[in-house]
């Protein structure tokens, strides 16, 4: 059985923030987006995008877990026995996710209740494990941190965009602020407004299938906008 570790350059390159490092962050935001291009992490993207607040909490949690696990795995990469590396990676992720869960439980209990099972499911989020195996096991902690940051944000941005449409069209709210709907509590009251009197919130947008539609439209828009992503075949 051959060692799978990538041989590193003998001369350590100094830590800098140049073109290559910038690409580590910007690439997952656009050309290599975890959700719209790699189609990873769809499960949680469907589940937690009913509201901007939940999506934001989830995005922050995933960024934290992504960066944290990337850095730890990368720092330990020479010590981790290759035979058990998957298990070690999983333990690192699970630990960080538990830390997130405990933190939410202590400081943001409402979000903890709403996100409940999905926080635990970050462990199985393919993006995190994928980055560890593909990047952190072969690169220095510094680059791994940037890669984790890029991928976490790339995931979080899509989550927020999906949540924006679902919350606004489904409930007429953003971050829980009531913007449009029937009743005095909304900023635009459709019962009395002349311009928006026709508007009715679309209940389907609150349900999970709508996230599929929104993500599909996002993928389509992303590909139409970025010619690099168009399949030539």
């Amino acid at each position: 059985m051959a060692e799978t570790q990538v041989l590193e350059k003998k001369v350590a390159t100094p830590i800098s923030f140049g073109k290559k490092e910038r690409a580590l962050i910007t690439d997952p935001l656009n050309d290599n987006n975890p959700i719209t291009v790699q189609v990873l992490g769809i499960c949680s993207a469907l589940a937690v995008t009913t509201g901007m607040k939940n999506a934001a909490v989830m995005a922050v949690a995933v960024v934290f877990v992504c960066v944290g696990s990337n850095v730890i795995t990368s720092a330990l990469r020479k010590a981790i026995p290759s035979q058990v590396r998957m298990i070690v990676q999983l333990v690192i992720i699970a630990t960080l996710v538990t830390v997130v869960e405990l933190t939410l439980k202590a400081y943001a209990f409402e979000s903890y209740k709403q996100l409940s099972v999905f926080i635990g499911l970050i462990i199985t989020n393919c993006i995190v494990m994928g980055r560890l195996e593909a990047f952190a096991m072969a690169n220095r902690p510094y680059e791994s941190a940037l890669d984790g940051l890029g991928n976490g944000i790339g995931y979080g941005i899509i989550l927020l965009i999906v949540a924006f449409f679902r919350e606004l069209l489904g409930k007429g709210e953003l971050f829980g602020m009531k913007l449009i709907g029937a009743g005095d509590i909304y900023a635009i009251n459709t019962e009395t407004s002349d311009i928006f009197g026709w508007y009715v919130s679309n209940g389907l947008m609150v349900q999970f299938p709508s996230a599929m539609f929104v993500i599909a439209v996002l993928i389509w828009a992303h590909r139409a906008w970025n010619p690099k992503l168009v399949d030539i075949s």
Binding site: T103, V117, I185
Partner: protein
């Protein structure tokens, strides 16, 4: 290639470090999470009288919840025969604090029926109206469901309910908690008929036939809805000896 020995040592060190770290965090924040959980339960209890609060329930903050609980809510813990337990007796059951808010209704659910204790909250509105908030537990599709039911001072009309669940499907069974319109249907329904016979409130699939004693079901969540019916029918009956005594 690492030797088996080095792998075992690595894994042992890793698990020790991880478990120590998590155990430390968990115990350091235990009190905080406990307080949060209690506050969350208090807020859910007030959810049953959300339409009768002196403020808007949706924007209520934690201090207001504590304030209402200390000034406007009377707590009692009842035996199945309707008599009240003293604070010491409740503490002897393992509920530190000895108040109704400390009683774990899910734990009570596992005891034999005759040994259970029932938490009761009496909410007094500033105008003087009294609401009796009863608790009930039952089974949904996947796991336990529970809820608080507020009864008006005529002891038969419901003033509101709030349900919660452990693992019902979001968008289907979880609607018992999330769908405020569905929950609102319970307001104004009655658990006793004109003659004083116990009727409870029934969640009817296909739509309520008698709006006084029935509410509409939830499409795609028949089993959860039936669980709610069963929970109310059995759970509210437990309070009958007490309600009859006042």
């Amino acid at each position: 290639m690492h030797s088996t020995r080095s792998i075992v040592i690595f894994v042992l060190i890793m698990t020790t470090v991880v478990s120590l770290l998590l155990a430390f965090l968990s115990s350091a924040w235990a009190q905080r999470s406990k307080d949060n959980a209690l506050l969350y339960a208090k807020k859910a209890t007030l959810g049953a009288v959300s339409q009768h609060l002196d403020m808007d329930y949706a924007s209520i903050n934690n201090d207001q919840v504590d304030d209402i609980f200390s000034n406007q809510v009377e707590q009692k813990v009842l035996r199945m025969d309707g008599t009240e337990l003293t604070k010491e007796e409740v503490e002897a059951l393992g509920y530190a604090g000895g108040q109704a808010e400390n009683v774990d209704i899910l734990k009570e659910m596992k005891k034999p029926e005759s040994e259970r204790v029932l938490p009761l909250f009496i909410y007094k509105k500033k105008s003087g109206d009294k609401f009796y908030i009863l608790s009930a537990t039952g089974k949904g599709l996947w796991d336990v469901i529970w809820g608080c039911v507020a009864v008006e001072s005529d002891l038969r009309t419901l003033a509101g309910v709030s349900f919660d669940h452990k693992a019902e499907t979001p968008g289907l069974g979880a609607e018992i908690k999330d769908n405020k319109t569905w929950v609102k249907q319970f307001t104004g329904t009655k658990i006793y008929d004109e003659q004083g016979n116990y009727t409870s409130v029934y969640v009817r699939k296909g739509g309520a036939k008698d709006p006084d004693y029935e509410v509409d079901g939830i499409s795609g969540a028949t089993i959860t809805a039936n669980g709610v019916s069963e929970m109310l029918k059995r759970g509210l009956k437990y309070y009958e000896p007490y309600l009859k005594s006042i």
